[in-house]
Assembly symmetry: C2
Homo-oligomer: 319 residues x 2
Amino acid sequence: MTKNILPSWRASESRKNIIDFVTKVTKENGKDYVEPKLRIATFDNDGTLWCEKPTIQIEFLKYQLFKNIHNNTKNIHTNTDKKISQLVNDFLHGEVKMNTTLKKILFEQIEGNISLSEFKENVEGFLAQWKHDGTGNEKLTGRTYKELTYEPMSELLDYLRANDFKIFLCSGGSNDFMRVFAEELYEIPHENVIGSFAVNRYVFGAGIEPEDTFFYKQIANFHNTSHGGKPEAINAHTGRIPIFSAGNVLNGGDIAHLTFCKSNPLQSFQLLINHDDAEREVAYAEKNDPSIKAGKAQGWSIVSMKNDWKKVFRNPEVV
Amino acid sequence: MTKNILPSWRASESRKNIIDFVTKVTKENGKDYVEPKLRIATFDNDGTLWCEKPTIQIEFLKYQLFKNIHNNTKNIHTNTDKKISQLVNDFLHGEVKMNTTLKKILFEQIEGNISLSEFKENVEGFLAQWKHDGTGNEKLTGRTYKELTYEPMSELLDYLRANDFKIFLCSGGSNDFMRVFAEELYEIPHENVIGSFAVNRYVFGAGIEPEDTFFYKQIANFHNTSHGGKPEAINAHTGRIPIFSAGNVLNGGDIAHLTFCKSNPLQSFQLLINHDDAEREVAYAEKNDPSIKAGKAQGWSIVSMKNDWKKVFRNPEVV
C-alpha cells in the first residue's frame, strides 16, 4: 500500500519510521491522532533541502560584493574604514574564513540600506548566473543552485502536505533571500518562510502616493535564525511547537531545532540528515558528533544519504 | 443570490462594495481574478473585530498590576526606582494618561521576565474575570471582553474564508496576548497572528531534557505593530501585500495599514470602521479626521456602525 510513497527512498528504517509516524498521527480516533491544525512541520534549508557545500547565501554575498565592486555601486574597496575594506577583500580572495564578525559586516554590505525590490532582483540575478564551483565534489561544478535540491526531501514535503501538514521553512538564510525561491523550489508560500530577519522599514507618508511606498532593508534588531534562534523564530512566527522537524549534521545547527520538536507533548518526529555520500554529494561530519549524539539520546531518525536515498538531486542526478 | 451573505449588514453601499470585490477577484478568467495564494487579508483587532473602549490590553495591564501588588509577586509599590512605582500607582488610580514612556514601563512589568506559559495563564485569568467598566457606554458594564466581538465582522471573516482568503490578525496588541483568544473568537490560527512582538528566549542546553525546555519573555528588540509598524510586521511575516485590509478610526492607527493594502498592484479593498454608534457601542472620532480624509482620498469603504450594521455584538446584543 505504501509503494508509491517516497519513491526515491530505499526500503530503509528511516522510510519506514516516517510512514509509520504519519500513519499514526493521521488515524482518526487512534490514540496518537493529531488534529490538522497542530500538524506543524519545520524544515531547515541548507543541507536539508538543498546542498550547503559551499554555503549558498555566502556565495550570494560574494556574487553581490564582486558585482558592487565591478559596478562601483558601493565603494567597498575604498571604504573609509580600511579595516572593513581589507577584510572584505581578503574574504573575496579566500584569505580569511567566515566568522561572526565578518558575517555581520557582509550582511550589512548586502542586506542593509537597499530597497527590498532591488534586493530581490539581486538574488534572482545570482540564482540565474552563479554556478557551483566544485567545492567538495567536482562533479557538481557548473550547476546552478536551483539544480541542487534533494529529490527525496521534495517527496517528503509532498507526502506531508498530502497528509494536511503545514510546512514551514526555518533556516539561517534570511527571510527575504529564501522567499525568492522557496515557492518555486519547495512549494512553500512566502508566509511560511521563517528565516533570519530584521524588520524592513516602510517608507510612506504625506506626499507619497500608495503606489510609491516601499520597504527599505536595514540590519537593526537582526534576529539570527540558527542554533537556538530557530525555536525562537518558530515560536515568534507560529506560536506552536512542530510535530515534525528536519535538519542536518553541521556545526550542531539543528540540535536546538530538533530538541524543540521533541519537547512537544504530542507524538513527534525528528529527522537528521547525515552527509555521508562522497560519491553523489559531499561527505562531511562534525568534530565529536554532537548532532548524532543528541539524535541517538533523543531517538531521532538519522538519515544516511548514501544508504537511504536511491537518488540525491531532483534534477539532474549526479551519476 | 447574495441574500445569505453578511446577514447582519444592512443593504448598504459598504455591503455591496464588499460583495462586488470578492465576486470579481474570485471569478476565474475574469480580468480582475486573483489566485488564492495572493488572497491575503489583514484585520486590525482593537476597534475592528472587538471593542476598544477601554483598550483591552491596557485593561489587562491594570488587572495584572493589581494582581501582582495583591500577591506581592512583583514589588511594584516598593520598586527601588520610586519614579516608576509612583507612575504605575498614578496610572492605576487614573491620575495619569497612557503615553509611550508609560506604555514601555508597563509592558516591561507585565510581558518582561516571565515564562511564556505563565504569561498565557495570566491572560486567560484576565479574560475570564475582568469585566467592562462602562467606559463610553454604561450598557456595556459587566460584560467580559470575549462578549464584545462584532458580529458583522465575524461574518465578514467567514465570507472571506469561504472564498479562499488567508486571514491574518494584525494589531498593536502583542502576539502572545492575541494568540490566547484569536482562534476561539475569530478562528484565526496562531501562525496567522501578527502582533507587537519581541523574540522570546528559548531556554535549552546541556542537562535540560527536551520536555523541560521553555520560552522566557523579554522586551529586547521590541517591534510595535501599530501605525507604520503594521505594514512592516505584515511584510516580515508574510512577504506579501494584502488585497483586503480592515481597520478603524482612532489616532490614525490604520492609515499606514490600509495605504499599504492600496499599494497592491492587484485589485484591493480597504475597509475603515467609523465608531459612530453611541447607542449600541461607543461614539468617538479623531481630531481633524485624518483616517476619514485618507480613506476618501484613496477610495476606501468607510463603514458606519450605526447605519451599516443591523447588529453590533456577536453575543449578547446590546438593545
